[in-house]
Amino acid sequence: MKKEQYFREELQRLFIGLAMVPAVSITLICCFIFMGLLLKGRWEENIGQRDYTAEALETTVDACSRELVRLEAFPGLFEKNPGPEERARIFTEIYRATGGFGCKADFYLLDADRHVILTDGKRVPEALQVAPGVSWGLFSAMEEAPGQTALRLLDGYRQEGSMLALGRAVFEGEQLAGYLIFTLDHTSMQPVLEHSAAQAIVTDPFGWAYLCGNSSFLTDSHQLVREIRGGSTWVTYRRHLYLMSARPVCGGQLLIYVLSDIQNIVVSLALNAALVITALFIMTLWVFAATRKVTEKKTADFYRILEVMDQGRQGNLDCRVQVESNNEFKTIADAYNSMIGSLQQQMENNRRMTELVAIAQSRQLESQFNPHFLYNTLENIRYMCRIEPETASRMIFCLSGLLRYSLDGSRREVPLREDLEHLNNYLTILTYRFGSRLTCTLDVEEATLDCRIPKLVLQPMIENSVKYGFGNRDRLTVELKAYIHQENLVMICRDDGAGMTQTALSELSRLLEQKENPGRHSGLYNIHRRIQLLYGHPYGVEIRSTEGHGTTLIINLPARREERIC
């Protein structure tokens, strides 16, 4: 499974590395560049509007000041009730002056008591109707700086709208002769604001507005809102983002603020970027899901082969690889399948061959009957024929039964019960042979009687005890036990005979482990070998013996009852 993730991760990494990262970066970069270009354009337009407004204002104000200075020197200006000729002469001068301003200006000529002598306006603005002596508005500015042109924004008389007033107090000697005043109404300067889409506002240093194209920037008092007055390049006002530039003009007596609405640029580009990134994000999720499917499908055959190989390694050779697709994996799978098939065939052949060999060897071993015993028994029978012909006859009967049993090659395994019956024949012969010198006891559990054992296993055990147990002794007691212990049939033959020396025992044990028939001790070797051929390694004969204390033979077999496992 870890490997499959490896494939998937690799695919995803490739996708992210080669597609997502460049796509996201290019989108962001494009958005940034685009936004930068648009903002730069807006900023240039803003600066353009600012400088244009500043230039227009300064030109007009300069022209007004110049004309005021020129008119001041005009003789006979403040004469009360000038004649028609005089009036015409003065008006010619005035119209010549206002004609050069480039915008409409009204002219007022006031005497020292602030009464109008001459004007080209329709009515005198309220801001100029200040009682004599009261230092207020433009008059206070003119009187404070005699010989200079005073500039003042006249506002607060809302009905008339704001206007810019330029005036000079004219003195004849020490005596105030009167006032020369030009007013520039906001309507006459308004076209200056319409140079570009950027919104310009002209105020005095305290924020009172002279010109403003958008009244939403002004308070009820016709003052520029504090958010803009205190703002920097980036201004947020009423949840709108603006680029702002400001500049003082006319010696700081007026201020120009220019605002460019950049809300749409920022919002649309941010939205754009957000949309693209969201789309890419969704794509990423889709790719993650898709790569899982693709890798699962593309690597399925591969992992099927791996799975089968893993099974094979654990010993299960019955699995075959099923590959639907027709690609390289198909070739691998077919090759593996045929290889496993031939391997299985080979193993089956080997197993059969081994079985045949084992059977052959087993038959050969079964057929061995100790000629020593035969000789001794026949010698006994000959002897018995003389003294007890009856007994000799019975001995012959037993011997012939035993011989028939040993020569019957039709079965290799018999129930314990049957082997015991034939053991009785053998024991009968031994009893006749040794008389009271040999005592033999059998202790066999009922449950073991049905267990299947190799033919002629019990007899060699007794035979071994009799053969080595007597030594120089007169008597020998042999005890045979059979019971079931942990699913194993255990048969023990114990005698109280001479026992074996340590060297004899170890030599015997070594002989039992040999594969070839050693010739000596052939009885024990015979059963041990047969058991091992039939049941495999852990089973067989075990010998325990101490010199002078008898010998014990232990046989371990799997407990099987009539073809079935107990």
């Binding site: 490896y6 690799e10 990494r13 490739l14 992210i16 590395g17 080669l18 990262v21 460049p22 996201v24 970066s25 962001l28 970069i29 940034f32 560049i33 930068g36 270009l37 903002l39 730069k40 900023w43 240039e44 600066i47 600012r50 309220e126 109707q129 200040v130 009682a131 009261v134 230092s135 207020w136 508005g137 206070s140 500015a141 003042r152 924004l153 506002d155 607060g156 008389y157 809302r158 009905q159 005095d204 305290f206 924020g207 009172w208 009820d220 008092s221 016709h222 504090r226 007055r229 205190g230 703002g231 920097s232 390049t233 530039s245 400001a246 500049r247 003082p248 201020l255 120009i256 603020y257």
Partner: protein
């Protein structure tokens, strides 16, 4: 297996390099953007600094219940003359006084407006200052308390919309009980507005024949004729009458006079039962951050120039001896006056406001 491992390592290296590359390009883009706004920085700086100095110069904060059209010409002239920028916070007198007491931001420097009968109970909020013009102030408007400089004299008037009134006679408080005017009278809550409070005092004294306790019967009948309409701000009264929402309104002289001067269909009625005229004040807050500028402001608005303009074009009566009565307004001698006791009135404010509110509520339930 080894081949695979090598391939993985190469893949990782490739993606890591990709990330570094993307980061570098992003950084370059951001730098490029910021630089394009930086290149015009030099021209921007001078403008910006001009804008910033405007607001950081320490604005004089003026709390003011006067009408905007009255405030603006005086404030702009003060700014132009002194170079001191002013921030005006407008609102009802009661509300503004409360804000001074709470020390709300922006911190009040000048309390400009509000009749003496409302401001004097809160005189602990104000610093003592006797302006340089005190010598020219009429005797009855002298700053006796030491911190209550009188600004103008404000008589209460009834404002009538001549287009709406028809032939209903309105000459004083008595005429306001006319059932034909029910629900057509603009009156402000006396707790919120100083002009309405002055009218309440005026009613109690004028209709009680000098004993305010005798005037409450009239107040009850009057409240019934209000028909449950009580306004929040004094500006709603004169705007409402001039705009035609109400036929008559109880307001202060200047509030209505502006409309008369502008030629609107409005006339002022000086109550035949008697007119109460109370000065309003201009005071320096104790907690003022701009004491020096505040003094200049008080001196300016009580000065001859400002008082002349106020009387000449802004329709208010000056407190100065050397300034004439406004043109177009009747002399104070032309209408009957009502005298009230400042001590009594300031002492009973809470009690009277409560009583008025009760009567008004009773009218609502009916």
């Amino acid at each position: 297996m080894t081949a695979k491992k090598r391939w993985t390592a190469a893949g990782r290296k490739r993606t890591a390099a990709g990330k570094r590359w993307a980061a570098a390009v992003l950084a370059a883009a951001v730098l490029g953007c910021s630089s394009c706004s930086v290149d015009s920085g030099s021209s921007r700086n001078q403008g910006q600094s001009a804008g910033e100095t405007l607001l950081s110069a320490g604005e004089l904060v003026v709390y003011c219940p006067h009408p905007q059209d009255f405030i603006d010409p005086i404030v702009s002239e003060f700014e132009a003359r002194t170079g001191i920028p002013v921030l005006v916070c407008s609102g009802g007198t009661g509300d503004l006084l409360e804000r001074v007491a709470q020390g709300e931001e922006p911190r009040c420097d000048i309390f400009w407006g509000g009749s003496l009968s409302i401001t004097s109970p809160r005189q602990e909020l104000f610093a003592s200052y006797v302006c340089i013009n005190e010598g020219q102030v009429r005797k009855e408007f002298q700053n006796r308390e030491g911190n209550m400089t009188r600004f103008t004299d404000v008589p209460s008037v009834i404002m009538v919309n001549t287009n709406l009134i028809g032939d209903i006679p309105v000459e004083g408080y008595g005429d306001l009980l006319n059932p034909e005017l029910k629900g057509r009278i603009a009156m402000c809550d006396p707790a919120a507005s100083s002009s309405a409070w002055e009218h309440l005092i005026n009613m109690l004294y004028a209709m009680g024949d000098g004993d305010p306790e005798q005037g409450w019967d009239y107040v009850e009948q009057f409240c019934e004729n209000l028909d449950g309409k009580l306004l929040d701000r004094s500006s709603q009264v004169y705007e409402g009458v001039a705009g035609g929402q109400y036929a008559v309104g109880l307001t202060f002289e200047e509030g209505g006079a502006r409309y008369v001067m502008a030629g609107e269909p409005v006339r002022l009625v000086y109550m035949e039962e008697g007119v109460l005229s109370t000065p309003d004040v201009v005071c320096i807050a104790k907690e003022a951050l701009h004491q020096e500028e505040a003094r200049r402001f008080v001196d300016f608005v009580t000065g001859w120039d400002a008082q002349s303009v106020i009387a000449g074009t802004l329709n208010r009566r000056s407190v100065r001896e050397d300034v004439d009565e406004p043109e177009g307004l009747p002399d104070k001698g032309a209408f009957p006056a009502v005298e009230s006791s400042l001590e009594l009135v300031t002492g009973r404010r809470e009690q009277w406001l409560e009583r008025f509110a009760e009567i008004y509520k009773k009218g609502l339930l009916k």
